[in-house]
Symmetry: C2
Subunit: 449 residues, 2 copies
């Protein structure tokens, strides 16, 4: 069932375009889902993609435009006239339309808006552009089906037929009072099951989950996921129904959020994909590697400060990669648990409580690992005191790494900074330096150099 974009299809499309065989292209694409067409457009050259967009109906291309990669869309929009973009916008739901308009340069924005035929549609888009793109207002669409609480079922069905033709997918009918304030909801199922003469006020569900226009998109995603909602109404500061958000948009947010955290943990600054260019990939990767390089240089500088003991205690230097690696691993583990907990809203209790727990955990893990390391170093002929120094250092470094890994993301979160930046190379690098510093300090204490 899942449609696969094969090399053959891409080659065929390319051949048709180069031969300007519009009939064959029309036939090929007419039955195809817009998400599949978008995948093909991502694969072919940019000029060919523009050719397809200009060839196909805007009813179809508008959806395709929403599905292509961001960079492909940006390039295509540059090649389209204001009038051509306005035609696409006319076909889109307000939320998607506003997203496209927001991506345009200022001058083109106005040109496109003035070309939009449907004045109501244009007004709705302008309203949506006011909201922050990461808020409920920025996510919502104006298309929804609403009913006045005083209507009868028959009235409601009649009105619904009018309204529903505008709305792609009807999840719920939102019930409002005379001043458009959200009162409750009604499912299509309930409407179908209700006696024709009943009034909506008699049987709508007054308990309805909603979000406010200024709630963050993360909050919206958490509520919809927690309560298993497929759509949620959005109200303004006065409780007036102003839009609705559907789960498909939220699924993308959940996926993007999770992907972003993962990339941060792996040391990738920008949203990159395997297919991106070497320049894009380098931009995403190099900054973190340079950070790592500085960390390594810092560690080397610390070790250089102890050069005078290298004759007597060479073995101490052999274990610096181990100490650095363990500090990094423990730090990443601790911070990842906190970052994920913060994202899922289940980090409970105070910072002090969390640190206390992490401390206990680090003590448990630290003791086990320190004993293992002591056994190895001592058994392989190490000096008793040196083995002890290395093991105790490892124990201390694990505790430090756990505490830093827990504290930094909690601290960043409290300050309103995305805690995910605290995972990955950032925590690894700082723990490398601190780890090696602590290691030599403790070794000096025990071995007295």
């Amino acid at each position: 069932m899942p449609f696969e974009i094969t090399k053959k299809i891409v080659e065929q499309v390319t051949a048709y375009i180069d031969a300007k065989n519009d009939v064959a292209l029309d036939k090929l694409f007419c039955e195809m889902h817009h998400a599949d067409i978008a995948e093909i457009l991502d694969e072919i050259s940019f000029d060919r993609a523009v050719y397809i967009i200009k060839l196909l109906d805007s009813e179809k291309t508008s959806e395709v435009l929403m599905d292509v990669d961001d960079d492909v869309r940006e390039k295509i929009l540059k090649k389209l006239s204001a009038k051509e973009i306005a035609e696409e916008i006319d076909e889109l739901d307000t939320d998607d339309a506003a997203d496209i308009i927001a991506e345009l340069p200022e001058a083109k924005k106005e040109a496109v808006m003035s070309e939009i035929e449907d004045v109501e549609h244009a007004k709705d888009i302008v309203e949506l552009l006011r909201y922050d793109e990461d808020s409920a207002g920025g996510l919502m669409a104006k298309e929804l089906v609403k009913a006045n609480e005083n209507w009868t079922i028959v009235q409601c069905v009649r009105e619904l037929r009018k309204q529903a033709s505008e709305v792609t997918r009807v999840h719920s009918i939102y019930v409002v009072d005379d001043s458009d304030k959200l009162k409750g909801r009604l499912s299509l199922k309930d409407l179908l099951m209700a006696p024709a003469r009943a009034h909506i006020s008699d049987f709508y569900i007054p308990k309805v989950d909603f979000v406010r226009v200024n709630d963050t998109s993360e909050d919206v995603a958490n509520i919809m996921r927690k309560y298993d909602l497929s759509a949620i109404p959005v109200v303004d500061e006065l409780g007036v129904l102003v839009g609705r958000i559907t789960i498909d948009d939220v699924v993308d947010i959940i996926k993007e959020e999770a992907d972003k955290d993962y990339q941060m943990a792996a040391g990738l600054t920008e949203d990159v994909e395997a297919g991106d260019s070497i320049v894009q990939l380098t931009k995403a990767r190099l900054p973190w590697l340079i950070l790592g390089l500085f960390g390594g240089i810092g560690a080397a500088a610390i070790m250089a400060g102890y050069e005078n003991i290298i004759k007597d205690h060479a073995v101490l230097f052999f274990f610096t990669p181990l100490i650095a690696a363990m500090a990094g691993n423990v730090g990443v583990q601790s911070s990842a648990i906190i970052v994920q907990g913060l994202a899922n809203n289940d980090v409970k209790g105070s910072i002090a409580n969390r640190l206390w727990k992490e401390l206990l955990l680090a003590i448990v893990n630290g003791i086990i690992l320190a004993i293992l390391l002591f056994i190895y170093t001592y058994a392989t002929g190490g000096d008793y005191k040196v083995s002890l120094a290395i093991s105790i250092s490892l124990f201390s470094v694990i505790i430090m790494a756990g505490i830093i890994g827990t504290f930094i993301p909690l601290f960043l979160d409290k300050r309103g900074i995305d805690p995910a930046i605290a995972t990955g190379p950032f925590i690894t690098t700082s723990n490398d330096i601190f780890g090696i510093l602590i290691y030599f300090l403790i070794a000096r204490l025990i071995l007295g150099f």
Copy 2:
């Protein structure tokens, strides 16, 4: 709007339970959403949670049971009799019911099944238990609304009223032929808009996305996300409609998959949360740390082999943490891009192509980083030849780490193993050892010791 579980609510619930104040508890929970009750149950002691489950209506508690943490549910189910569990099962949709049954020990499974009152419901559950839990069959529910293509609209609405009372949320009506084969779909909206005497066959949508019972849950998630579906029908090998999957279940899968990859990258073997016990957290973290310990010991052993040169080339030893860290960082970056690309289905081209691209990328990054390191070591009074040896080693290690980080996940994926295990500590540790080995080999080549 989002409901917050405050410390106060938890304390109040605890006090009510301890005073056996059932009236107050009933009143408190009657208006509360099951997902919120579940959050409270996760917070209070286990005996108190059982008390609440036994107190409230099974109509409510069945949903609560689905929402509590897995380990809390397991404990609660142990305390309930087969009859009590069967009452909960009776209230649940077949997909949730099957999930609960699947978690029970074999003996209790049969006892519970024999207590279920609704025979049809029990039959459906037994059918669902046959499917792998990670397949479309394991995800689907039997509850759906279907219509025969030969019905009139009036017939359809009448039948629908009967069927829909069983189904929590109606997304689409699935149209089937006389042998129950899936033919197409019909939205409730279309049904509302259609003339009463029309036949379904005249205007249902024959193009309908579907999955087969044996498709993996990952495939299901990808299709629903790509095509923005809120529900998808499931057919068996003969094309017969056997169930449907709704987006809320898939949202959880998407989130879990992403969380799992993230945890793997961070070195956490089991699905742990910030709130888990120290024993659970240790189980998830310690194995990776022990792996890291072995890696560090390996690196130390390699360095011990070069002890004789430590007098002349002490500086080489100072840069081992840097080399190990860079090898780890590059490896994690490369593998994360591949793992995420595989999960999102956008790694195109052959393994050879991917390796070639990674090689170019590693050369670009490697040259820049090696030059930076050379400038630092030479400028801080380093010997020309030693600086060159360290920089060239760094360059080589970056290339090796990039290739290993790209190859391992692609290789695992080809062999049907989850490539996510190749990220995090696994790749870091192996790259640490290889990195230090290469470093000393190259240094020996250049410095001739």
